[in-house]
Amino acid sequence: MVKVKFFAMLKIKAGREEANLAAPGSISLEKFKDILKKDFPGIAEFIDRKSVMISVNQEFATKDTMIKDGDEVALLPPFSGG
């Protein structure tokens, strides 16, 4: 299972803080986004936004990042700390 975390505005839009998704082996970030969009249609448009970042195991993911069983993925809307 892959743990998915939602923060701030996306937590409200998704209606939840966390979800556990089955990941078929090791998959690309793009493929994982497709699964997310299907499972959470309410936030599909946000997942595609450039301003929404994705972290894998608490590091910013790039398009080369692979996601596998046991990973922690988070959807990060634009930051507004400081």
Binding site: K5, F7, A8, M9, I12, S51, S55, Q58, F60, A74, L76, P77, P78, F79, S80, G81, G82
Partner: protein, 138 residues
Amino acid sequence: MVRIQKQDFSVTEEIERVKRASKSIGGVVAFLGTARDISKGEEIVKLDFEHYPGMAEKKLQEIRERALTNFNIIEMGIVHRIGKIDSGDNIVLIVTAAQHRNDAFMACEWAIAELKRIAPIWKKETTRKGEVWVEEHP
């Protein structure tokens, strides 16, 4: 030297903590971010800060380490508050200490800009019109 916490902090104590690093410190620069009462013309009733526990602390630590590597400073401390924050209250403090003031100024300015860029922390503003998650650093 890097913390995220609900409770308020004392600027004096945070500066003392940083100063303890060395007696060669001649210049300390502190940036203190405070909650303004107005945002885009709307009166702010309160702010609420949320963070990604674990990752936010890690990113602040990363900012401190990169600052110590890239600037001629002796120490840096960062404290960011989360939870409910009233108008006028402290939000964030960055303290840099160096032998010479220019290095302390440069590192402090860089660190607060970098914090806004990479630290997974979010601000919710409550005005009379309702609540909104701020997206000022897209």
